[in-house]
Every structure is written in structure tokens, then in C-alpha cells.
């Protein structure tokens, strides 16, 4: 369904992705892992068109999408829950959701989706007329996810959805993700919560310094010593200055 081949992305003159190739099959839940600054977010941004790659191709359902505008890509059925939520702080919760459904032309459908969202996250219904900027961190995260779901995307890109959520909610979110997955949505997930992520993922890619360095299923990855060492906190001691050497 989604296929990246040899993608290289730059921020100005800084190369953030050094030839990334990965594939997501229809109906799969694929997870990308990696240290801080490895380039996970950049992959998602490249897919959703917020940055365009200098080299390589991105294909979605066989079509090249790497030179398209983000709004065209969204229309193809790819929704992106961006890092740091990026809700519209000066709009109300309701208006935020409305914007999530911007591409829906029919009013009935829009209302239906809104209700579905409120069912999913009843809290949002309570806060419907609050300015989104005043929501707590977790509430904002819920809003960001539901906003992306308004369009019922074919492929959902999620960038650290559990960031800053309480354990209960994290589990809720993961349950939601699994449910979405089971209902047929293809998902590409970026997570730091490696344990949980790999438990629900069909396949995982591990990114390091802008390159895919290992990939495999949960069982395969969990066996890899490097993965355990770096991401599961089970390895030998790593000096701090090396851990954060950017």
C-alpha cells in the first residue's frame, strides 16, 4: 500500500534521512522505532508531504505521492497525527473537529462522524466549546487523534500518540489503535513506548541516524541485542554523552 524507496530528506542543508526504504502492506500496523533525532518524525512528514524528499520515491497504492501537496495527500486517504499534537489553540474543540472533517462535503456525514468521535472520547464532548489551547496535554492528544480520524483515512500516520498520557490513557490509546487496526485501517506508528508498540505491531523498523538499521516482526526484533540494549533498557551501560550525541 505504501512504499518508500531510497528516500533522502533535507532540512536546509542538513540531511535527516539517508536513503530510507520501507513498506506498509494494506491492513498492517507498522511501527517505527528509533532514538531521539533519528528521523522518525521526518519519515512521517515526508509521507504526508510536509517536506519533500530530494531523492527516492514514495508510493501510495501504486501512485507516486512524493511531490504532491499535503492537502492532496490527505485527500488520497492518508491522515497524519503530527508530533506535538498541533491542535488549533484558538479554535474550540468543536471547530477543531470540524476542521478535521474539512474535506467532508456532506453535512449529515460530518455530523455522524462528530457523534462517533464524541462516543469514542466522551471527554471531548464535555469540552466541546472550550478553546483547544486550554486543554490539558492528554486532552489535546485525544483531540489530535480524533481530528485525524474524522476523515476515516485508509492510512493513519501517528507520531508518538502516547506522549504525555497517563498509563490508563496510554493503554486506551493503544487499544484504540488496535481497534482501528482491526477495523481495517492501515497504520504507521512512531512510538517511544517500544514494549507496547511492538506488542501490537505486525512489523517494526528501527531507525538510527536517518537509516533503517534493523527491521522485522516483534519476535525478531526482541531477539536483537542492539534493540534490547538501546530501547528496552536492558543492555550494558551507555555513557550519557554518547546516548545523547545527536
Amino acid at each position: 500500500m505504501l512504499k518508500l524507496v531510497g528516500v533522502e530528506t533535507f532540512y536546509g542543508k542538513v540531511k535527516a534521512l539517508h536513503g530510507v526504504s520501507l513498506e506498509v502492506q494494506k491492513g498492517q500496523l507498522v511501527c517505527i522505532l528509533g532514538a531521539n533525532g533519528a528521523g522518525k518524525t521526518t519519515i512521517l512528514k515526508t509521507i504526508s508531504g510536509l517536506v519533500s524528499p530530494e531523492m527516492g520515491t514514495v508510493r501510495f497504492e501504486g501512485r507516486r505521492i512524493d511531490q504532491m501537496d499535503p492537502e492532496e495527500i490527505v485527500a488520497l486517504g492518508i491522515s497524519h497525527v503530527p508530533e506535538g499534537r498541533r491542535i488549533f489553540p484558538e479554535l474550540t474543540v468543536y471547530e477543531n473537529l470540524l476542521m478535521g472533517g474539512f474535506l467532508i462535503e456532506s453535512g449529515d456525514l460530518l455530523r455522524e462522524r462528530l457523534e462517533a468521535t464524541y462516543d469514542h472520547f466522551p471527554l471531548l464532548k464535555k469540552r466541546r466549546h472550550q478553546l483547544a489551547g486550554t486543554l490539558s496535554g492528554g486532552e489535546q492528544q485525544m483531540l489530535a487523534i480524533s481530528r485525524a480520524l474524522m476523515l476515516k483515512p485508509k492510512l493513519l500516520l501517528m507520531d508518538e500518540p502516547s506522549l504525555g498520557l497517563s498509563p490508563l490513557l496510554v493503554r486506551n490509546i493503544f487499544r484504540t489503535i488496535r481497534r482501528l487496526h482491526e477495523s481495517g485501517v492501515t497504520i504507521l506508528l512512531v512510538e517511544q513506548n517500544v514494549n507496547l508498540a511492538l506488542q501490537i505491531a505486525d512489523y517494526g523498523y528501527v531507525l538510527s541516524n536517518g537509516k533503517i538499521f534493523i527491521s522485522g516482526t516483534y519476535e525478531e526484533l526482541i531477539e536483537e541485542e542492539k534493540v534490547r540494549e538501546y530501547y528496552l533498557g536492558e543492555g550494558k551501560y551507555i555513557r550519557r554523552s554518547r546516548l545523547w550525541s545527536g
Binding site: 532540512y11 536546509g12 542543508k13 542538513v14
Partner: protein, 343 residues
């Protein structure tokens, strides 16, 4: 562990200063009309002093001022009145008038404690108009809208009579200003300014008193503008409210933008660039253009100015200083391009 001052290179600073003071001699050797070029440089120098101050305020502290011509005017009129009508020696006026202008800065800075972004910009713009009006209303001292003749600078028995003399006076001021401003921005003060600009919350949380530092920023900026005003009044011998209008304030903003917001050298380069462009480059360009097309109106001059400015913003939004940095360390990402700084 290596501190950042270990490999700081300082040797070229005296070289640059020497070059500044040797330039007039070079010019004199090169052209007969060197005095005109010196005059242009003098104006640039005066504007440099002001834009450095403006950059501290707008570029570093993030408080935009669209009324800086007012500070300039206050400095100029204060000194003209103090020296010519009050009998104050010029040397003293050179210190007192800027300080008094700084106090005006405090008054004008007062709304800054509550206002943000463009609201502040427009409030300062309003102050620009109000100050101009005030100058006219105080016609007893200022001659109203007729303008005021001003005496020459006179320091310890030496009178600065012409552009040649003025050059040395003004550029001494420029060098002083730049050195002081550079030191400021690399100290606690500068960090506080930048913190206020980028995150007031963080600033408060580390114990920076927003009100105090915003006021300090306005004060310093006012002092610099006042200093520029004093030099302007006494070296051009005539001041009038017609000069200190909103367009001048906008010009100052253009200067720091073209130079690169948030860098002292950028402000200096910007002032130099705009003044040279306006006075030397555009007339040349106009003459050249007029050999191809016959346009009667002098509008071609403003057209070129507008176009160059526009192209500059489109193609070099980081400003001149950014350009220079790119040349020096071409591969390094340099964030002299704050996003949404004034929004």
C-alpha cells in the same frame, strides 16, 4: 571542557576599526567629490547607531517599534534646544540628551508591558505621531513646524565644521555603540532579552522581571536613538518635523530586516546598505535605465528601491548578515531566521 571564548578571534576587530578611520583618507585620494561620499557615510553612521539600538529592542527583545523616528527626533530637538538655547556645552549634551531620550523610551515603553506584536507596533507608531505633534506644539522652543537651525558640534575647543570632521565624530560614536551593544547581547542582559522574545514564560520562571527588562530595552534603545539624534542635529545643522515621520521609522525597520534581525552586525550592515543603495546605487541604476527607456517621472527611483527591497526579502530573508554567514560557513544551519517572531 572548552569554553566558547577560548578560540574567539579578536585580532580583526582593531583592523576593522583602523579601516573605518582610514577610509576618508582613501576616499580623498580617489575622488574630488569625496566630501559628498563622506556625507553619505555620515548619514549611514548615524543610522547605524540608531538601528543597533532598534535591533536590541526589536530583534533581541522582540518588541517592535514603528515609532523610532520619534526617539531620533527627541534626541535631536533636545540637544538643539539644550545647546543653542540653554547654553549647555555640546560635550554634556552628548551625554544628557540621549539619557533624557532614554527616559522618553521608558514612557513609550510603558504600553509594551501589556501589548504584544503588531498592537505594540501600532501603539509605538501612534507615539511617533504624538511626539511629532508635541514638537510642533512646543513652538516656543522648537519653532513649530518651521524647523530649527542647529550649531556645529564643539568638543573641548574643537569645532566640527564639515563632513570630514563629522565623519570622525560620528564613526567614533558608531564604534562605541557597536562595541557596547555586542557586549550587552552576550551578557546576562542579552540573554534576558532573547528569552523575553522567545518565551516570556521561561524568562519569568528563571527570575527575569519582564517589566523591568522590557523597560531597560526601551531605555537602551532610546538612548542609542537619542545619541544618533544629537549627532544628526548638530552635523546637519537643520532639523524639522518633516524629516522624522512614520516613513523614517519604517525605513529603520527595513534596515534591520535587510541586515538580519537579531544581530548587531546585521543592523550595521543594513543601515549601510540602505543608505548607500538610496543615495549612490539607485541614481546610478536610474541613469543606466534611462538610457533604455524614457520615463519622465522620478518615480523610477522609488520603483527601483521598492523592487530591490522586495527581491531582497524574497531571496535573502535572513538578511545581509545571514548571507555573510552562509559564505563563511556555508554548510551550517544558522538560525538567524526566527519564524513568527513578531506575530
Amino acid at each position: 571542557m572548552k569554553g566558547r571564548y577560548e578560540d574567539e578571534k579578536l585580532f580583526w576587530i582593531p583592523v576593522l576599526i583602523a579601516a573605518v578611520f582610514l577610509l576618508p583618507f582613501l576616499l580623498k585620494g580617489m575622488t574630488n567629490s569625496y566630501r559628498y561620499y563622506l556625507y553619505v557615510l555620515n548619514i549611514a553612521g548615524i543610522y547605524m547607531i540608531l538601528t543597533v539600538g532598534l535591533d536590541l529592542l526589536s530583534g533581541y527583545t522582540g518588541l517592535i517599534s514603528l515609532g523610532h523616528a520619534a526617539f531620533f527626533a527627541i534626541g535631536a530637538y533636545l540637544s538643539a534646544i539644550l545647546v543653542d538655547q540653554g547654553g549647555l556645552p555640546f560635550e554634556l549634551s552628548l551625554i544628557i540628551a540621549p539619557l533624557l531620550t532614554g527616559l522618553f523610551g521608558l514612557v513609550i515603553g510603558f504600553p509594551a508591558l501589556r501589548l504584544e506584536g503588531m498592537y505594540l507596533g501600532l501603539a509605538t507608531m501612534g507615539f511617533g505621531f504624538i511626539v511629532k505633534r508635541m514638537i510642533i506644539a512646543l513652538r516656543q522652543w522648537t519653532q513649530g513646524s518651521n524647523g530649527l537651525q542647529v550649531s556645529s558640534p564643539h568638543i573641548f575647543g574643537f569645532t566640527f565644521r564639515n563632513d570630514w570632521d563629522n565623519y570622525f565624530l560620528i564613526y567614533t560614536g558608531v564604534v562605541l555603540t557597536v562595541v557596547i551593544a555586542r557586549r550587552m547581547v552576550r551578557s546576562k542582559l542579552g540573554r534576558a532579552f532573547m528569552a523575553i522574545r522567545d518565551s516570556e514564560r521561561a524568562a519569568e520562571a528563571v527570575g527575569i522581571r519582564l517589566a523591568k527588562y522590557k523597560m531597560i530595552s526601551f531605555f537602551i534603545s532610546g538612548v542609542f536613538a537619542g545619541f544618533a539624534g544629537v549627532l544628526f542635529a548638530h552635523t546637519s545643522h537643520f532639523i524639522s518635523t518633516d524629516h522624522f515621520d512614520i516613513l523614517l521609522s519604517v525605513y529603520f525597520i527595513i534596515m534591520i530586516l535587510v541586515g538580519g534581525v537579531g544581530s548587531i552586525y546585521g543592523a550595521v550592515l543594513g543601515a549601510l546598505f540602505i543608505v548607500l543603495l538610496d543615495n549612490l546605487a539607485i541614481p546610478l541604476f536610474k541613469d543606466w535605465l534611462q538610457t533604455f527607456i524614457t520615463v519622465e517621472a522620478g518615480d523610477i527611483q522609488s520603483l527601483i528601491f521598492g523592487l530591490i527591497m522586495f527581491l531582497f526579502i524574497i531571496f535573502q530573508p535572513t538578511g545581509l548578515y545571514g548571507l555573510w554567514l552562509k559564505v563563511r560557513i556555508y554548510w551550517k544551519l544558522f538560525p538567524f531566521n526566527p519564524r513568527k517572531r513578531f506575530s
